[in-house]
Symmetry: C2
């Protein structure tokens, strides 16, 4: 009569698997049956463990780099581990304090806070730290057109979060100053408190239907201003990349690290990947080549979204390291950092 867990594994295999992964995570080397039998809480001979491991290997959770080496978890195995078996540690009190102190202590600018948080995370986790701050869908507070030269005007957009954005647009020659003022007023009346994406479509259709009480020139300015606001710009901050060279694996397979650096610089793929972490509000974990977006051969990402005062997700912060990283320690770390940032944005 045996207890069967939902994942279709008996109690013993599960325990063996869990300890194997934990041992692997700290050592980075293949784990053999002997080591495991010493480590396991229940008394179990190496031979029995070998049998269990053979089963696990058949399930695709483990593999042996070569005969007569220990076993290593596969990506599938790691996934199972983090999904079900991982016991998430408590954040060490000193780390908790460090995070709060350093983040609260940094300057006021939002970008500065994020930079601080990232480099802190990278330091604590000894991985690369990442932040994506989406500039796009913050609610708007104010829009202003400023003439800067004949035929040129500047659109200044101030977000609710204090973020400021500006674009240069071309204006028709001989545009009266009043048109700019009018355009500003028109947009401010409609945009305030809404997100850009939100308002844009509505205003554009309104303009097309000529329901707006604007003269042609002003309407043109408004349209042009809106168009430039389209760009879904994201900013990506990366810190502590040098940690990517720390691991033993990196020394062997330098080529992999090279492509990783290139990917980070290209950044587009990385941003797209991190965007996936926005859905759902917990920590998300991407292991190895689970997704095609990013050639993270042998790398994992642990990322958590952070929200502003209105509970709206405005960005993602996380950590990038080898698949073999201390998930139990890093997950609460990322989680807590995201929360602290969220609190600070409120």
């Amino acid at each position: 009569m045996e207890y069967r867990a939902s994942n279709g594994m008996g109690e013993r295999p599960r325990e063996v698997f869990r300890h194997l992964v934990e041992a692997y995570l700290t050592s980075g080397e293949p784990v053999g049956s002997r080591t495991l039998s010493q480590r396991l809480p229940v008394q179990l001979s190496p031979a029995s463990i070998r049998n269990v491991m053979a089963d696990l290997e058949a399930m695709g959770l483990l593999y042996a780099p070569h005969t007569s080496a220990g076993r290593v978890p596969t990506e599938k195995g790691l996934r199972l581990f983090v999904d079900g078996l991982l016991e998430i540690g408590q954040l060490a009190p000193d780390e908790r304090v460090a995070i709060e102190a350093r983040i609260n202590g940094s300057g006021r600018g939002i970008e500065e806070v994020l930079t601080q948080a990232t480099s802190l995370l990278s330091g604590l986790s000894r991985c690369a730290g990442l932040v994506v701050a989406a500039k796009q869908d913050a609610a708007l507070k104010h829009v202003e057109f400023v003439a800067v030269a004949p035929g040129k005007a500047l659109v200044v957009i101030v977000g609710d979060d204090g973020q400021v954005e500006n674009r240069l647009i071309d204006t028709p020659m001989g545009l009266p100053a009043s048109a700019l003022v009018e355009a500003s007023n028109y947009l401010n009346a409609r945009l305030r408190g809404r997100t850009l994406e939100d308002a844009r479509a509505a205003i554009l259709t309104e303009l097309e239907d000529e329901r707006a009480a604007l003269d042609a020139l002003t309407a043109k300015i408004v349209a042009e201003g809106l168009a430039t606001l389209a760009g879904p710009e994201k900013v990506l901050i990366v810190r502590g990349t040098s940690h990517l060279l720390d691991t033993v694996e990196a020394q062997i397979d330098l080529e992999r690290v090279r492509t990783l650096f290139d990917d980070i610089e290209r950044k587009a793929d990385l941003i797209r990947l991190l965007e996936l972490a926005r859905e759902g509000d917990g920590v998300r974990i991407f292991i190895g080549s689970e997704n095609r977006l990013f050639s993270l051969s042998g790398s994992s990402i642990v990322a958590a979204p952070y929200a502003n005062a209105q509970g709206k997700v405005v960005g993602v912060i996380g950590v990038l390291g080898p698949t073999r990283l201390n998930y139990g320690r890093i997950i609460p770390m990322v989680d807590h950092t995201a929360k602290v940032i969220g609190r600070l944005l409120g």
Copy 2:
């Protein structure tokens, strides 16, 4: 009767030295007397060359990593080489074309142009590419104060080069809108066409002397606006860092590369170093640990300032790689890129 050059070296030693460095630069390995004797245009036996090399070693220009290895130039030797002995090659026509096409073809935004140029440089030189764009002393075109919330105003500064900058300032409660307009007008009248640094001191003293025809409130705004404009902000763009892992040396001495990455991220030192390249208008070269600012152990920087239409230096572009890089090829490359950028800014 022997010809003696100004650097206190005979003709033969100089030739030997030059060829040794060139050989080293392409191979990266210590160069022995036999190899050199084959390479040298004049017939000379290995033994004679050994004698010459012994002299050069005594002068501190060469050193042998161990007995019975070839010689390698010291930093002092490299310095001498680039200063006097280096024959600067012509830029290959296809490279010239590539540079011009890619830079001219990129978008209009100045930052985008620089990013393109940097990643191009990094690609061609197979090193990391660097740009420092100084935001500070572009001439100003327009300044505007925009009220965004009670007690908050935005200062928008538009530079001659189209660069836009903004800062949030606190304003006294109950500030009339007219004060902001007045402040804008006041500053525009005085700032236009001058650089920030230029105008700032003058205006501040004028304010203190109360010579300005402004009411107290407006004066306060102007002062506050000016204060926030102080920051000598620089932007650093780095591309192609993965090339730093290319060289054979890197594989051996990963630790060095690690600190290099950290330095690049910290960026402050790097910027300070690159700023040195602004003085004088040619290409400047920093070899190894010649300067204390930056722990560029084993790294060199080749950098050139670029100027705007007014001939004012507004930034520095360059390349960061191992000391052992093909100076003859890279120097004209950096030089030309800087010129193309300058032309584009005009």
